[in-house]
């Protein structure tokens, strides 16, 4: 599973810590999601997508 969290975050000039604070998770958790080491839960994935005003499918992509 790939995701565009890093790109969306950088496009908004946000730090990992700022995004984590907005979502109620740690900076390391944001980093782990961006690098693909951690797969977020559905509520967190939806929260991330909503934060970027996108759908979940636009942020997270299944590897073909």
């Amino acid at each position: 599973m790939r995701n565009d969290v890093r790109g969306e975050r950088l496009a908004r000039g946000l730090s990992q810590a700022a995004l984590g604070e907005a979502l109620g998770v740690s900076r390391q958790t944001v980093n782990s999601i961006e690098t693909g080491r951690y797969m977020p839960s559905l509520p967190l994935a939806i929260a991330l997508a909503r934060y970027f005003s996108k759908t979940v499918e636009e942020v997270f992509h299944v590897n073909d």
Binding site: A22, L23, G24, V25, S26, R27, Q28, T29, S32, Y38, P40, S41, P43, L44, I46, A47
Partner: protein, 132 residues
């Protein structure tokens, strides 16, 4: 839907609270058993553990996550670590049970501990099966 639940004081103080309670239990056990130094040492050690946990949690995101329980990744890591620790203890209990039997003993208290682990697992399985 929210991923930013407020942290209740009960959650925030759970770990140091349990450490303090364990310390009090050690102290009472030491006093009752006539081993005052064990009781005092255990009390100070557990109280110190709680204080160090709270202090380090100010700088460590991992410990802060364990304290606040709001970060799902830290919670998942905690569950996995607890599983590994539980399996290690259960494995040690089973090994010690076999060693005790091989030495001609009745396997106590390891067979009781093993049974406790097995029954707890089964009850948890049934409970979680109906909840999820």
């Amino acid at each position: 839907m929210s991923t930013t639940d407020k942290v209740s004081p009960a959650t925030r103080w759970a770990v140091p609270g349990v450490a303090a309670l364990a310390g009090v239990a050690y102290l009472v056990a030491g006093l009752l058993g006539g081993d005052v130094s064990f009781g005092v040492l255990g009390f100070v050690l557990m109280l110190g553990t709680g204080v160090v946990f709270m202090l380090v949690a100010r700088r460590s995101d991992t410990l802060a996550g364990l304290r606040d329980r709001t970060d799902e990744r830290i919670n998942a890591i905690d569950r996995s670590a607890s599983l590994v620790a539980g399996m290690a203890v259960l494995l040690a209990v089973l090994v010690m049970f076999v060693v005790e039997i091989a030495q001609g003993a009745d396997g106590s208290p390891y067979y009781q501990l093993g049974a406790l682990g097995g029954v707890t697992y089964l009850l948890s399985l049934i409970w979680l099966r109906y909840r999820r």
